[in-house]
Structures are given as C-alpha cells and as structure tokens.
C-alpha cells in the first residue's frame, strides 16, 4: 500500500513529462491556471462587451443607454448576470429534460475551447497548435450543436425554427469561412495562428489583406461569413427576435439562458481576433522585427496592446453593423453564400496562387502592388469615416437647430 502511494507520488510529482522539465501534477496545475485565466478573460470580455455594445447602440440611436449601476453604468453587466442567476431555472413541460439541460454546456464549451488556440500577443497563446485555425473553426461549430439541441429539446416551434435556421446557416457558412482562409494558409504555409501572424508585417502594406485584390476579396468574404457564424446581424436568423420571438433560446431562463448571450459576446472576440490575426497582421508591432520583439518584455506587452486594439476595432465595426443593418431572409442568406461567397472564394484562391507565382512576396513589384492595395484600402476607410462624420454632424446640427443647445458628450464619458 505504502509502495503504491510512493509510486503514485513519484509519478505525479517527480517524473518529468516528456519534452519539458515539469512533472504531471505541475502540468495539470498549469493547465487549470491557464484555462481559468482564459475563462476569466472570456467571461469578463463577454460581460463588458455586452455593456459596451449597449452603450454604443445607445449612442448610435441617440439614447443614453445603461448608466445607473456603478459609475456610468459600467457594472450593468454584473447586475444583469446576478439577476439572471437569481431567476428560476425553468424547464418547460414536455421538453426533453436531458438535452435541454445539456445544450448550454455545449454552447459554453464549444466557444471557450476556441480561446485555447487564439493568440493574444507574441508567444502569448495557450496552445500553439499546428492546426490552430482549423481547430478554432471545428470547435466553434460545437456551438451550433448546442443551439440545435436547445432548440429541439425546448418543445417549442419557435425554438425549433431557430435551431433549424442555425443548422442551415452553419452548413452554408462553414464553407466560405474555410475557403476564404486558404489564401492565407497558402501564403503562410502553416495553420498555426502564430505562424500566420509571423508571416505578416507590422506595417499595413505587409498585412495579408492588402497582398492582392484576391486576398482583399477573401478578407471581405471571411468577415461576412464570420458574422454569419457568430449569429450577428445581418445574419442573426436563429435568434430573429422580431420573427421567432427569441429563436432557439425562447424557452430558456436563468443561468441557462445567460450562457447563450454570453457565448454570443465571447464569440465576438473569437470572430474579431480571427479576422485580425489572419488578415490584419495580428500582434505585429510596426517597425519592430520579430527578433527584437522576442527579446523585450515591454515590446511583448506592446504587441498584446496592438492585437487588442486591432481586435477591438473589428468588434466595434461588427457592433456598428449590427445596429445599422436589417436582417436578411433565410433563402437570401443561403443564396448569398452559395451564389456569391463560395464562387468568389474559389476564384480568389486560384487568383492568389497565380499572384504568388508572378509576384513573390519579397520582390519590389509585389511591395509596390501591396502599397497600391493599401492606398485603396485606406481610401475605403477614409470614405467610411467621412460618411459617419457627415451623418454625425448632420444630426448634430439638426439637434442644435431644434433644441438650441449642442449635444454634450464629454470625453471622459464611456461610449
């Protein structure tokens, strides 16, 4: 007996794991710490994003938004979470009890598992998988399994509608999402998220999005299909609140309900991080090579900041789209996918291949073309900002004419 215990102790604490100096117990501890850190980040991000989205929506809609709980309402998401936790966990009569209970876990685990392969900065990634990108897409599809489970087991026709729409959506949009990443993978030669970022540069014209017109098309396609996978407007068909009451989560309440919106907002980070790491240069700091980056802790923190800023901008754009656009119909959604996005992707893949052969990355001509592409992209951004500015000032003057006072948005106020 004592010998067995000794053996177990040795196995747990003394035997180093192959390829590292730590024993199994430490290893398990590390895994738990990292998983906890990721979970902490994801849950808090989801919560804070829910608050920020509501404030941004309020600003877009000339409302005030939540501003009561905490300073400027910043604790609103905590209050919402506590409220939902205190609610009764209601399971409808004649629902499939087991699947109904299990479905939120699928949604939850599917999403948070995706954070494992997401990088946050140079070398800051839980697991630098060599199939990173495809791991993320495979594992986020688990969310849909949860949605279908929840929708079906609710024994409500609205929930079933939502679930089936979600199934149709994921079947359609997995394909352009995967296809639109193929140019990136061809350019990198790897599926690892770190390698993809390392293959790009810090300056905008070294990003993959401006590599060629074809990758630009792929970037747009990827962004659209990522929106569809994340159930964001204009593709929030599974949860079309004006058509399907609340879609797949109609019958949920309490904490089980909380998981669904939380997963949706955590998914926002996954979408935005994927967009920024594959096409927008990830954590690459401008004018700093990877060798110097790896040496300095300050620069690594800078890389984290760069990545977070890029991702936040994408998150903001996704939010802005949500509060601007209407929702597409189901048949239009699939039609858009199969008649536009997939063929565009296929063309773009072939185009990128040819482009890579004619203009290899290192040549001067390729750099020139990338600069030109960057110019076009910059013009897009410029007009985008100008349009928003125009509408903003239009509205502001209209308000001033009517109320004889200017709308006052102090800089320290949150969005």
């Amino acid at each position: 007996m004592k010998e067995n215990a000794n053996l177990l102790f040795v196995f747990l604490f003394k035997t180093p794991i192959e390829g590292s100096g730590y024993s199994l117990a430490w290893y398990i501890l590390f895994v738990f710490i990292i998983a906890g850190a990721l979970l902490f980040f994801a849950a808090n991000f989801a919560g804070i994003t829910s608050f920020i989205e509501r404030r941004i929506a309020a600003r877009i809609q000339t409302r005030v938004g939540p501003n009561v709980v905490g300073p400027q309402g910043i604790l609103q998401w905590v209050a919402d979470g506590i409220k939902l936790l205190l609610k009764e966990d209601l399971i409808p009569d004649r629902a499939d009890q087991f699947l109904f209970r299990v479905a939120p876990y699928f949604v939850f685990s599917g999403l948070f598992a995706a954070f494992v392969a997401l990088p946050f900065g140079y070398g800051i990634v839980a697991a630098d998988l060599n199939v990173g990108v495809y791991y993320i897409f495979a594992i986020t599809s688990l969310v849909v399994v949860g949605i279908i489970m929840g929708g079906w087991s609710s024994n409500s026709k609205w929930a079933l509608f939502g679930a089936l729409r979600s199934a149709a959506q994921i079947i359609s949009y997995e394909i352009p999402t995967a296809l639109s990443l193929i140019p990136v993978i061809m350019l990198t030669g790897s599926l690892s998220t770190q390698d993809i970022i390392k293959a790009q540069g810090g300056l905008p014209w070294d990003w993959f999005v401006f590599h060629s017109p074809f990758t630009f098309v792929c970037f747009v396609v990827f962004f659209i299909s990522a929106l569809a996978e994340g159930n964001r407007i204009p593709f929030d068909l599974p949860e079309a609140e004006s058509e399907l009451v609340s879609g797949y989560n109609t019958e949920y309440s309490g904490f089980r309900f909380l998981v669904f919106p939380m997963a949706e907002w955590a998914n926002l980070w996954v979408i935005a991080a994927m967009v920024s790491l594959t096409y927008l240069g990830g954590w690459q700091v401008p004018f700093v090579s990877i060798e110097t980056l790896s040496g300095s802790l300050v620069l690594i923190f800078l890389s984290v900041a760069v990545f977070v800023i890029k991702t936040s901008i994408v998150v903001f754009i996704v939010m802005q789209l949500r509060w601007t656009l209407p929702r597409v119909r189901v048949d239009q959604m699939t039609q858009l996918c199969w008649t536009y996005l997939v063929p565009f992707c296929l063309v773009a893949i072939v185009g990128t291949m040819i482009w890579m052969l004619i203009f290899p990355w290192e040549t001067r001509v390729a750099l020139l073309l990338r600069l030109m592409m960057f110019g076009i992209g910059f013009a897009f951004c410029f007009f985008y900002v100008r349009r928003i500015r125009f509408n903003y000032f239009n509205d502001k003057t209209a308000y001033e004419n009517l109320k004889k006072k200017s709308p006052w948005y102090p800089i320290w106020r949150l969005p």
């Binding site: 089936l164 509060w323 119909r329």
Partner: protein, 383 residues
Amino acid sequence: MPESELKYLKPQALAFKEEMILNMGPQHPSTHGVLNFLVVTDGEVIHQALPNVGYLHRGIEKLAEQTSYTGFIPFTDRIDYLAAMFANHVYVLAVESLAEIEVPERAQFLRVIACELNRIASHLISTGALALDIGASTPFVHWIRERECINDIMEAICGARLTYSYMRVGGVSRDISQKIVDDIYKFLDHFEPIIDEYNRLISFNEIFVRRLADVAIISPVDAVNFGLVGPNLRGSGITMDIRKIIPYSVYDQFDFDIPIGKGFKGSLGDCYDRYFVRILEIKESCSILRQALSQIPKGDIKAKVKRKLKIKENECYACVESARGEMGMYLVSDGSDRPYRLKIKTGSFTAMSIVEKVSQGLMVADLIALIGSLDVVAPEIDR
C-alpha cells in the same frame, strides 16, 4: 392548438404530412398588438395564415349607444391609439352634419393641423416599426425621437400626448398660440432634412429593399376587391384619397399630391411600395402643414352648441382619410341625446382580411414584413 380550431382551416390545409401549425401571437413581438395568426407552414414556407382577431374587442360601438353625443369623444381616441385625432375628427364630422352645426373656419384649420401632425406621427411609427420587424432597430428609435417632438407639440396644442380628445362638436377644445405655430415651423424645418437622412439610413439599404421588394404583392384588382384603403391601396397604384375625392373640412384649399406606388424597387403593390408611399406621404403632410399654418385665419374656434345635444331622427356616413386609410362612421340618431347606432369602419379591419389571401407561399419572415407594411393596429381591427 385546440381541436375545435382545426375545423376552420380550409380542407386543402394539412394535406401534406410535412405541414405544421404555428400559433403566431397573441404575444408575439411583431403582430403590432394583440393578434393571433394560425399559420400552416411547411418549414419556412407558409401555406396558409389565418388571422384570428378579437382580442382587443371593447365594444366601442355598443358603448356609443349608452353615451351622450359629446361624451363619446374620448372613446374615439381608443379606437386607434396611434392616430387618435382622425377618429376624433370623423366622429365630430358625423355629429356636426347630423346636428347641422357650422364649424368656424379657424377651428377647421386647427383640425387639419392637428390631423396632419398626427398623420406624420403615425406614419413614423408605422415605417419605423416595419424596419424594426425587418431587424433594424436604429431607424425605429430615430423615428421615435422625431415623434417625441410631435408629441411635445401635441401636448402644447391639446394637453395630451396620445389620446387627444382635441375635437369638440362644433370646433376644437383650445386655440393655438403663436409660440406653438413657431414650434411647428421649427419642427418642420428640422424634420424635413431628417426624412432624407432616414432614407439614406434604411429606405435605400440594399438588404431592406431586398426584404421588401417583390414580397407580398397585392394587385390593384385585389386591393379594391378586399377594400384596402389609404396607403395600402395607394401602394397598389390606385389614386384614392378621401381628402381629394370627397373633400371634408378645408382640405380643398390646399395643394398637395397623392403619392402612389409605382413599383419603386420591385413590382407594383409589393411591401416596399406600401412602405415608401408612407414616406412620401410624410413629405406631403409637411407641405400641407406649412400651407395650413400660413393660411390660418383669425376667428372663433368653437361654434355655439347646446350643452345637451339632441339630434332628431336622421343618419349619415362621414369619412376621413386617416393614417391607416379611410375611416368612416355611420351614425344613426333617433331624437334622443345618444346615438342610436354607430358603426365604425376602419382601415386595419379590411387590411387584415387580405392577409389570408396574400400570405400563401410567403415565408415566415415575409409574413412579418406583410403585417408591418399593412400597418395594422390591433385595437382598430377589433374596436
């Protein structure tokens, strides 16, 4: 669904094994009030949608028989809470023509101003709610903001923001001051550019256009046959406006167009036409308001009316162009101080009856768009 309801479905329904019955409403976000649709669907495709109304039936017609002529005016607000002024107007028109009361000119102008403001407010809700049904929430909030300005003006005019009871038999309840006139001008100056902004935001949005164009087409023949009125009828391309055809009040003094559907983005009579006709009507209402404000004469605002109104045996049918189309009241008097019978004909009532025909073959999301574009208000259907 209860077994008793099943027998009202038509025989061809449920012929396919794949069909299911969906109970849409009475608590559904997009039914614009308490409405119920029995929807027979095959997946997303609707085979039949049966409207089931009556959840908001308050028996206003019966109440009229027990209330005095003047005391019934507040009830008319509750017929259509989004456009209460028109129900006020048509009721007092009916009573005045029965009692042979001459309304002072200024009161008539005030009525027109109040009605047109209310028409704008109602169309704002209607078009905004349609955008909300399609999934865009921002246009609705922007329109609500503009409607709030109108509500403020209405509050200044008649003291209420929603159920106005502004009209009196023989005139209106109060006069408007120069400040209110200036306020209305200021609002119009502010509001007319906002319409263009709104169009940029949602009306010409590609997704929005594709969701509405060529959806739920109502042909002109059907529109007349089913008795559609107002913007729904004009969306099908028929120039029918009570303000022009049977001019009441002082509408014959104003110069305005009747916008009709032309198949703006799709074919004639689709949801987009009905939607866009409303947007154009808002602009026309602005022009009517400007004309009315510039021509408003001085004078009394209320004719002398006996306190206890008794009307000898007679009957009449009065109709106005409400925000939801022609609203008519058939009033029968019997010599007492109460109406003998009051029949209220509303636009939503007939608009609702066409849903069953048009909805066949639509998708569930299109049904929402159809209901939104028909602009039905549940209390107006049930009264």
